[in-house]
Every structure is written in C-alpha cells, then in structure tokens.
C-alpha cells in the first residue's frame, strides 16, 4: 500500500515537473504547425542537406560549422511542416527543461520565473522566419553540455569539461562561449582554490585553442572565430534579444547565489506552481503568437510554395482571394499569369507598380532578388539568363532545393547534360528531393523525352536562339531585344504589352495590335481589348486587328464607363467611386486613376 502511494506520488511529481513544458511544447507546436508554417517553408527552402561525405567535409572547415551542419540536417525535415513544428518546439522545450534542471541543481528549488522568461524569448525569436534553427540548437547544446557537466562532476570533478573544451569549441564555435562562461561561473560557485585552478586551466586552454585556430589551423579573423556561426542576419536581426538570452543562460550558475526570501504565504505548492507556469506559458505564447503572426509573410510564402509547385492557376486564385500589395508576391503572380496566358487579361485585377517592379526584378546581388528574379527570364525563354541568376545565387548562398532544380532544368533545356547530371547527382543525395532527381535523371541525354516534357519541352521550344548580351539592369530592354530577334516569342510579347499598359502607352499598343494575329492570338486579351475599345473613340480610329474580332461586350462596357464619367460632368474625382465600383479591375480605371 505504501509502495503504491509512493509510486502515485512519484508519477504525480513527474507529471507536475513536466506538465508546463508539455504545455509549452504544445503552444509552439500549434503555432508553428498551424499558424506559422511559413517559417519552416522559408528555412527549408533556404538550405539543402546533402547526404554525402563531401558535404560533411565542407562543414568541418571551421569551428562551429558542425553546428550549421546539424541545423541543416534537422531543417531538411521541415519539408513536412508538422515535423518542422515538432523540431522547433522540441529544441526550445528541451532547452527550457534543461535550464530548469540546472537552476534546480544550484538552488535546490524549482524555478518558474527564468524558464518563463527564456521560453517567451525563445518563442519570440523563433517567430521570425529568418531566425535559423542552429541558433536555438547552439544554445541547447550548451545547456545540455553544462547539465551533463554537473551530473558527471561527482566523478570527474569538472576536469573533463575543461579538457574537452577545445573539441567543444570546434563543434559549436562561438556558441561554446556560453558553455565556457557557465563552467567558469560554476567553478566560482565551488568557492575553493580548486575551482579557481579549473577556471585558470579552462581559460588557458581556450585562449591556446583560439590562438592555434587563428594562426595555425583555420586562419580566420578573431571576430569570426569568436562569433561564428552566429550572425545577426541568421538570427532574424534580433541581436539584442538573442544575446540577452545567451547572457542569461551564461549566468545560470549564479542563480545559486541569489537568496530571495519569499514569505511563507507567497510560496506556491508544486501543483499550483506547475499550473500557474503552464497558464503563463499559454498566455504569453498567445500574446506573442498574435503579435508576431505575420500575415504578409504567410501569404507570400503560400504563393511561393504554389509557385514552386508550378500550380500557376492556384497562385492566381490564391492572390485573387487574398489581396496583397507585396511586390514580390505580385511579381510571382504576374509570372503565373503569363505562364497561364492571362497576363493581359488579369493584370489590373491586382495592384501593379507603374515602374514595372511587379513585372520584373532588376539584377541585385541579394539573395531575395537573386533567387526569384530568374524565374521571369525562365518564363520568357531567356534560359541562359535564368541559369545565371540561379548559379550566382548558388555561389553566394550555397545549394537550395529550388535553386538546384532551376540549375538542372536550365541545363536540361540547354542540352548541357553532363553538367545537369552533376546537379541531379547532388539532388539525389537529399532526403526529400530524390524522386524529382530521378525524374530529371530520366531526361538526361534524351532530347526526345525533354521535348515531350510538358514544362521543359515548352521551355525548349520557347528558348531564344539568337544571341545578344543580356542587359542585366534592364529587364524590359531584354524583352525588346528578344522581340527584335524572335518576333514570335509570345510570352516576351505579353510582358512588353503589360509594361505598355502600365505606362499607359496607347500608341505603342496600337502599333503592336496588327502583330497579334501572327503571334497566334484568336482574341484580344481583356486589357488590350480595353485599350482597343478606347482607341476607337479617340482620333486614332479603329485599330488594325486583322481577323481578330473585338468583343462587343467590351465596346459596350467602354461606353458605359464613359457614360458614368460624363454623368459626373467628366470630373474624374467625382466619378471615381462609381467607376471603381464596376471598373476597378480594368485598364480604363488604371489609366484614369493610377
């Protein structure tokens, strides 16, 4: 009976200890699994884990690189957002749990306040999609190492930790400073001469390791050796908060020195402490989740996801449903419109930049531009240029899943099979992209298969064949160059017309109309027809359309538009609300009011 009671108490104790952390885990899991899965999407698409010894070797080239390797390994599972949510939540929860145990070890009491602060800060940091996993992982490794140090110091007296410090520095780079500080403060807490000796020995070894690393092993600058792999950019530009968290963890052993005398009446029972901490976790997580939930990013990454899957109709449908002004989203949306032959039918159903920023991205050595800008060229058949953007991004940022796929696709379209096979070999060595690699592999050295492929066959057919030099800063200039050399490139033509629409270049469009029949148009795209309708009522007269018939409905709508306009005394401002009501997604509205 007594045993049974003890057993029940033991289970209850464990439950009370673990419960707040389970709650914390669940909060994070729900947030990242169901509300902010874009975090995992972005990070998974930003790196690529390759299962090869070469990839491992590349990641052994400097202290801390192994941590990046480990981070990339775990991030590769973000391919499944729920797995990603579980990993993010587990890393943060384990960190908190270990911290709580360390504090308990020093104080003999459970701590609620520090886990709450740390838990909130970690959650906050992770809500930024640019905060990469290796940051939390780096901190987790330090606290786990310190916890093991405490547990094993009964046998080793802490000397093992001192002796392995160079190896630990190699594994976790700049993050190991947290561990070394914790060790030092832990040794101070021993309050004896041996502790002091250990501190001296530890820092002598660390400084020696640092000197050897700088002058004989890795040759990097002191700053790099001290901080890598931490960088403000990879921590979502949240340096202050991240460094505060690291500092708080570093001084954990000092917690033992703080003797707060809490009056008896305020001390909490285990049950109430556990419940309060759980409730606070839920409250704080909800508050942070609501504050940090980034709808704009969520929407953008959903579009990017559909875009990468070549689900162009869904991209357009999603953007139709979820209005956006984000120029990158609209850039992808315009490509999706062009790929589905609707660019000049639906261009003004979405906000557009009059300077063309939503049509094309200008060359810039920045990852966010480099990794996306090439898709425009891929669409209009400038395959060399699409390849260049992807290649430059690979050189700057390493392999990414979509970057590698673009390199393979462009090399296949160009018929450079030997190079394409190198890239497919790399893609085959990934966890989740090998089916696509195998699909590409079947196309190698097989012109017939490529020509028959719905995507690559079309790209090969549309590929420009007359050479000119790419105008890196003038995407529109490239479009004009293509059309000078290859007047039948319909996608380039669509972009040319779209830009003319944005520039309200009626005369230019009128001059292009006679070419449309030759380009295979059987009807005018809606916005072009709107221009054509407008042209009928100005001095230029009816445009030359060949056998293409204008839709009478468009002419009627144009008359209707003019009628409303005239009803308000041709006062544009007065007519605007009424015109907007019916014609907001037309060229006419754009021409008058944008």
């Amino acid at each position: 009976m007594q045993n049974q009671l003890n057993r029940t108490k033991y289970i209850k104790d464990i439950f009370l200890n673990v419960q707040p952390y389970l709650i914390y885990f669940l909060c994070l899991f729900i947030y990242f699994g169901y509300f902010a899965a874009y975090v995992q999407f972005f990070q998974e698409k930003s790196s690529l884990f390759i299962c090869s010894s070469d990839f491992l070797k590349e990641n052994l080239n400097q202290p801390g690189a192994l941590l990046i390797y480990l981070g990339k390994f775990l991030t590769t599972f973000y391919f499944y957002p729920l797995a990603g949510a579980a990993i993010i939540s587990a890393v943060a929860t384990l960190l908190l749990f270990t911290v709580a145990h360390i504090i308990r070890n020093f104080t003999g009491k459970k701590s609620f306040f520090i886990p709450l602060i740390l838990g909130s800060a970690l959650f906050y940091l992770q809500t930024d999609y640019r905060y990469f996993l290796f940051n939390s992982l780096g901190l987790l490794l330090q606290v786990v190492a310190f916890y093991l140090h405490i547990r094993l110091s009964k046998f080793t007296k802490g000397w093992i930790s001192v002796l392995i410090s160079p190896a630990w520095y190699f594994v976790s780079g700049g993050f190991s400073l947290v561990f070394f500080l914790m060790l030092s403060f832990g040794f101070i807490a021993e309050k004896n001469r041996i502790g002091l000796l250990k501190i001296i020995a530890l820092w002598c070894i660390i400084l020696g390791t640092f000197y050897l690393s700088k002058e004989y092993l890795f040759f990097q600058t002191g700053k790099t050796l001290l901080t890598f792999p931490y960088s403000e950019l990879n921590a979502g530009s949240q340096a202050k908060l991240f460094l505060s968290v690291a500092a708080l963890i570093s001084i954990l052993p000092f917690i033992g020195f703080i003797k707060l005398k809490i009056p008896e009446k305020f001390s909490l029972s285990a049950l109430s402490g556990s419940l309060i901490l759980s409730a606070l976790f839920v409250l704080v997580a909800t508050a942070i989740g609501m504050k940090q939930s980034d709808q704009k990013s969520k929407q953008y990454f959903q579009v990017e996801k559909l875009f990468y899957e070549n689900k162009f109709d869904e991209v357009v449908a999603y953007n139709t449903k979820n209005k956006t002004t984000n120029s990158l989203t609209l850039f992808l949306n315009n490509i999706a419109l062009c790929e589905t032959g609707k660019l000049n039918d639906l261009l003004f159903h979405f906000p557009q930049s009059a300077e063309g920023k939503t049509l094309f991205l200008k060359w810039k050595m920045e990852e966010e531009i480099l990794k996306r800008g090439g898709y425009f060229y891929y669409t209009i058949g400038m395959i060399n240029e699409a390849h260049r953007w992807a290649f430059e991004n690979m050189v700057m940022k390493g392999h990414t899943p979509e970057g590698l796929k673009m390199l393979i696709k462009t090399e296949l379209v160009l018929g450079n099979y030997k190079v394409a096979s190198k890239y497919t070999d790399i893609l085959k060595q990934t966890f989740f992209y090998h089916p696509q690699a195998e699909k590409f592999e079947k196309l190698l050295f097989n012109d017939g298969a490529i020509n028959a492929d719905p995507e690559l066959g079309e790209k090969r057919k549309n590929k420009i064949n007359t050479d000119f030099f790419a105008l890196t800063d003038e995407p529109l200039g490239n479009v004009y160059q293509i059309l000078v050399k290859d007047s039948l490139n319909r996608k380039a033509f669509e972009y040319k017309l779209a830009f003319m629409l944005l520039k309200k270049d009626y005369k230019g469009i009128a001059l292009e109309l006679p070419r449309m029949e030759q380009l295979g148009y059987t009807r005018l795209p809606n916005h072009i027809e709107e221009v054509a309708a407008a042209l009928t009522s100005v001095k230029m007269g009816a445009p030359e359309l060949g056998r293409i018939q204008m839709n009478t409905n468009t002419l009627l709508r144009w008359k209707e538009y003019l009628t409303i306009f005239k009803q308000h005394g041709s006062n544009a401002a007065a007519a605007e609300p009424f015109v907007r009501n019916q014609f907001a997604d037309t060229f006419w509205y754009y021409a008058f009011y944008r």
């Binding site: 002058e215 600058t221 050595m365 290649f391 790399i426 030099f469 790419a470």
Partner: protein, 486 residues
C-alpha cells in the same frame, strides 16, 4: 560442427577470392576507365594514377607490371583502384624511360574472370615540377565565395590552401604569378576592401598599390622578368557581358589596354613605350627566358560601337635592355588575325624555342570559347601548329614546367563547364602527347566537384606562407607605387 564451420568459411573465402583464377576469358577491348589514362606519358615523380573501372563486375583486380619490375597487385570490390604511394614511386623510378602495363581483370556475376586489354603508360625520364598552384573557383559569372589558391604536391595528393578569401573578408583573389617556377618570387592581386597587389620577393612579403594617378587603368595580367627585378603588367579596362543564347557563359573584352613595367626593387611603375600603342590594345605580356624580349598580344584599338567578334589579337614582341630598362622596336611574331584567329596567353618554353598560345576565333578571354585551342609557335621559323593535346571543348590557360618537358593547361573537356588541369608531355620538336587529368586520390573526384581549377602554374617551391600571414598583411595599408616620368 567446428570442422563444418571451418570448411564453410574456406568455401566462402574461395568464393570471394579477389585474384583471378581458373579459366580467364580474354576480352579484346579496353575497359572504360575514369579518368582515362590509356596511352599517356607520365613524369617519373607523379602521384599514383588511381582510377575507377567503369565496367560491371563483382570483383576487380589490376596488376601493374613494369619492364624493370617490381609489380603491384590491387584488388577492389567496387572498381576503385587505389595504388599505394611508396610502391608506385618505386615502380616509376625503376621504369623511368620505359612502359608500365596494367592488366585489368573483372569477375562477372557468374563468378568467372575476364581480362580486358592492358593499360599501357609510358614513364618519361624527365620529372615534373613538384608543386602546382591553382585557384579554385566556381565557374560562374560575377560573384565569388569560398575562393582559394591552393598548392598541390604533384608527387602525392597533399593539398594545402595558402590563400583563402574567407580569411580576408571574402575579397577576390586572382592572377597569382610565379617567376617561371624557378624561385619563390610570386604575386597575386586582391580585389575588394583589402585590395592591392601582394608581392613575395626575396623572402619579403608586401602589399603594394600599383595604380598610380598617372595610370588610366589598374595593373592586371602580370609576368615576372626572369631576373626577378621587374614585372610587366597589362593595364586593362575590362567589361564582361553575358550571352543569352550562345552556349558560353561570359564574354570578357578589353575596351582599352596597354603595357606597364613595375620595378620591384624601386617600387616604381612606368609605361612600356611600344610603337603605335595609342591605336592598339596590348595585353598578356610574356618575357623570353633570357629576359631580352617582351612578347605580348596586340589588337587594333576598338571604336565605340565595336563588334566583339572582330577583335583579333596578334603576337608581337619588343627587345628589352634590363640595364637601362629601354625597349626596342616592335616586331610582329605571329599574324593570328591573318588566319582569322586571336591569340592569348603566350607562354615561352624555358629553352626559348617555342611559344605556346591559346587561339580562339576572337577576343582575349578564350576560357569560355569552345573553339579555343592551344597552339605551339616555333620561334625559329614562326610556324604555328595546333597541338595534339586539344579537345572539342575549351583548352586554354597553360603553363610550362621549369624543364620545358611538361605543359599543364585548363580544359573543359570533361563536362563543358568546369576546368580541370591536364598535363601533357612535350617532346623536343614541340609536339604534345595525349594529356592526362591531374590525378586525384579519389579517382571519381572530378565527377562531382563543381569548382574550376583556374590558372594552373607549376613551381619548384612550396611557398612558405599561410593564409594567416596573408590575412595579417591584408589588414595593413598598401604601399603606394611611384610613377617613373620618362
């Protein structure tokens, strides 16, 4: 029961025997090997020619036989033939000037052995310079990252990087140049925040800003005078553009270029006055081994709306007197434009007899030109011949060994994208042998490696510098070169 186990193990071992036995089926064809080392001539001090047998089988066995012994036997379960270093060198030393043969055996799925045609390799008597310096860089367009200049010991597989741009704020490092591999004088340029030209001369390492206010353009392509006292540079204004349909990545052209001379000891720059220089673009300087001539490539100065396909460089030279630093009259050495070609990278053999050049259809940057090939011009009769070492793809940047018997060059023949260093034996008459790719410990290394081996240069010296020393010098202010007013 024990006996049964013993017999079973014996049976198992006999089944797994990795040496050919029983009736051997002779297959009269060459096994497909990666890399292809058949019929090549190799230096007696080269690293082992590890290779992979790309034929299906369950076991592989290769027996190397030298005319003067000793032999080497290697078994493999996956076709990778890794030759032990010391045995390999012993075999090469004993067979210098002779052939060595590799008998290739493969066991099929039915447990029967087949023998393919033997691989024959000729071992030359002349050694190769023991070190090769090259830059590892992605064969890209504008950007760079993780760029290094490495030193490879050609007698084994040891590779060290002596410049790493990761330690110098990711600045670009280029144009490393040695004084014909005979001394440890060398230089390289660094571009970016820590820019300058880094000279290692007479044991002294310095960072110099070569561009003076009198110079229109910076110093670019260097060549050391054999005395080590001077370095001739071309000073170029370069543009690069990107083809949209041609199967070449980049088009690099000079808008203007001229030659300048740097006096290393006086830290002094001066123009190289060459006839009609104002109407010409002069680039790629090269000294004759005796230091009495400066060779260079010359094209007509382009106009504003130039056609890059019409820029053709000829090979010219001027005499030079090192005592008074005076140059003589210009002579045309080879009229490449006359045969519709353009010359780059003149490199004179150490005996002064031949000049190896890259010839392409146009321009001065042939590394992306598929038609680029290496030619040899005999300086006794100025006759040019296309070397046998060329391929259908780009064969370009080349460098002589210090004894003039080996030529190393960059070739894209493997995949059309990445350059690999190939080595060819050059005989007395200037003819090349079938080239072989720089041996690697992992024979299929090149299959996956995405970076190019750029500017391969032989050297007899292992530079006594490490990236840390370069990092420290990079942080210092560059010493400004002076301009010599003539």
């Amino acid at each position: 029961m024990k006996n049964f186990n013993f017999v079973f193990i014996l049976l198992l071992l006999s089944g797994c025997g990795s040496k050919p036995k029983g009736t051997i089926n002779l297959i009269e064809k060459n096994a497909v090997l990666e890399p292809d080392y058949s019929g090549i001539t190799i230096p007696p001090n080269i690293a082992p020619l590890n290779f992979n047998i790309k034929e299906s089988g369950t076991s592989y066995f290769v027996k190397f036989i030298g005319a003067s012994g000793p032999g080497i036997e290697i078994s493999s379960s996956n076709g990778t033939i890794s030759i032990p270093l010391s045995q390999w060198h012993e075999m090469l030393q004993k067979n210098s000037g002779k052939d060595i043969k590799a008998e290739i055996f493969i066991r099929n799925n039915d447990n029967r052995w087949s023998q393919f045609n033997s691989l024959i390799v000729h071992v030359a008597t002349e050694s190769i310079d023991p070190f090769l310096y090259y830059r590892l860089v992605y064969p890209g367009y504008e950007s760079w990252k993780d760029l290094s200049v490495n030193c490879r010991n050609l007698e084994n597989f040891k590779t060290t990087s002596f410049i790493e741009n990761s330690v110098v704020d990711e600045n670009c490092v280029n144009c490393h140049a040695f004084n014909n591999g005979k001394t440890d004088d060398f230089l390289f340029h660094m571009r970016g925040s820590l820019g300058g030209t880094y000279f290692y001369h007479s044991g002294k390492f310095q960072k110099i800003n070569l561009k003076t206010k009198e110079m229109k353009n910076g110093a670019v392509y260097p060549r050391w005078h054999p005395s080590g006292k001077f370095v001739a540079f071309s000073s170029n204004k370069i543009i690069q553009r990107f083809h949209t349909a041609d199967n070449k990545k980049v088009e690099v052209s000079d808008l203007e270029s001229s030659l300048v001379l740097y006096d290393v000891e006086k830290n002094e720059m001066r123009d190289i006055e060459v006839t009609n220089r104002e109407n010409s673009m002069d680039t790629y300087p090269e000294w004759s081994p005796d230091g009495k001539y400066l060779y260079f490539c010359r094209a007509v100065q382009i106009e504003k709306d130039f056609d890059f396909r019409q820029i053709k460089y000829n090979l010219c030279r001027v005499s030079f007197n090192p005592d008074n630093r005076k140059f003589g009259e210009m002579e045309l050495v080879f009229d490449a434009a006359g045969i519709g070609k353009s010359i780059s990278f003149p490199r004179i053999s150490p005996n002064g007899r031949f000049v190896a050049v890259t010839m392409a259809d146009y321009g001065c940057f042939p590394i992306w030109h598929k038609e680029a090939d290496i030619y040899s011009i005999d300086l006794q009769n100025f006759a040019a011949s296309r070397l046998d070492l060329n391929s259908d793809d780009t064969d370009s940047y080349h460098s002589w060994s210090s004894n003039g018997k080996w030529l190393i060059f960059s070739s894209r023949r493997g995949d059309g994208l990445t350059t690999r260093p190939y080595i060819s034996y050059m005989d007395e008459s200037g003819k090349s042998s079938k080239p072989f790719v720089l041996p690697q410990e992992d024979p299929v290394f090149y299959r996956h490696f995405l970076k190019s081996f750029n500017i391969p240069e032989f050297s007899n010296f292992e530079i006594d510098l490490n990236p840390g020393e370069i990092r420290d010098l990079a942080k210092t202010e560059a010493k400004q070169a002076k301009w010599y007013h003539q």
